[in-house]
Subunit: 264 residues, 2 copies
Amino acid sequence: MDQRKEVESFFHNLRDRILTSLEELDEGKFHQTHWKREEGGGGVMSLMEGKTFEKVGVNCSTVFGKLDPAFSSQLPGNTTEFFATGISFVAHPYNPMGPTSHMNLRYLETDQWWFGGGADLTPFFPFEEDTQSFHRELKSACDQNNPEYYPKFKKWCDEYFYLPHRKEPRGVGGIFFDYLQNDVQKDFQFVKTVGEAFLKVYPQIIKRRKDLSFTPEQKEHQLYRRGRYVEFNLIYDRGTQFGLKTGGNVEAIFMSLPPTVKWK
Amino acid sequence: MDQRKEVESFFHNLRDRILTSLEELDEGKFHQTHWKREEGGGGVMSLMEGKTFEKVGVNCSTVFGKLDPAFSSQLPGNTTEFFATGISFVAHPYNPMGPTSHMNLRYLETDQWWFGGGADLTPFFPFEEDTQSFHRELKSACDQNNPEYYPKFKKWCDEYFYLPHRKEPRGVGGIFFDYLQNDVQKDFQFVKTVGEAFLKVYPQIIKRRKDLSFTPEQKEHQLYRRGRYVEFNLIYDRGTQFGLKTGGNVEAIFMSLPPTVKWK
């Protein structure tokens, strides 16, 4: 089997099903933009600015070539050659009762290979029901593969999505994992399960929240809290750093940024 | 003379005159917030959310104590002790015809002392008249002190306020300088002249632009372009990094961020 192709093709298929599911929840349509990376590879950015989703983007990219040596020394392996394929999802619902969410799955190769990824939820007005169903689905995906995964990856998520300058977590967590390189078939199976769990649970949460009433003050609070999302992504996020340092497509890298933000 | 006190007191006086000048241009009033830094020092943040200025902030701070060794190694001197006093100004006019502007003057001590600072202009719809008057005043301030300053500090500004990932300059430039440690009286005199030049020219520019008509599309363009400002400040700005790494007041550090921003 061609591992790279198989993983990439799962990401594309997952993307297509996410698009269909979210278009059903909205009156909008995703628009796709293809982009190429000069040094090798490219991707497709799918973006919808609708009624339910003020902005939702899914980026699939496959990039390869040579890394900057200083950056490559931070990655596993002893070569500057790399290959990376991944899917990255961020949704900013219009209704402040609907939580923002992020999901990313990726496969990398240097002279080693590994998987990484995760999914997390950032509500502005947290509903216990949403937090619980999100974690329950991710836990179930983890448990199907390895009972040690959920506690480990939940903790990793809490540690990763933390804003030291605010002394605040970014949201209510989820899972985060990296450098998964045990058995390529089993690890790939785990990654698939995480993707399926996310596809199942996030649209359900949005369906419950998208038509709730809210006040202008609650909308303002959402715009203000979105600032924290920007701060995290621009100051700390490794995906953003990886993208900028590998000369990725800027529009695709910043697709995660909220549509409207306020800093009071 | 107590060098630290004298510099700090000039910054406070300059701040007070900036507040008076901008309040005259607006129907708003600055509000002041005092903050303390646990490890030593503190500051006063002056903020106005008015009609002419959607948001304008001036922060004066004096902080001291010990630096994180990793960070201290990036600064001149061979000690982790530091003292810093500075004024930092950022204005985001409501009218998209009015340029955003930033000004900062600072005095630092480790086992050496030095001045740094600068002022720059970021128009959304550039008027040649504004760009020219801004540069003319700064050039005149430089020339009064050293004919080599303006070309050198203008270039430094162009290099500093550049977004590599966008391959774009942040605005139309100005001046930027750092590690100025020739003669404390002469260097302080230069810093004063820069402060006075800024106080003279920026309110004049805003006076010319604040009541011009504009379209909703032009306002949208301003909100979109403000995203570049956020990207620069969070990803590259040394002042932001210095603030976050020395445990500064987060609200004061992020005072520079625009009030409303869009990422399309």
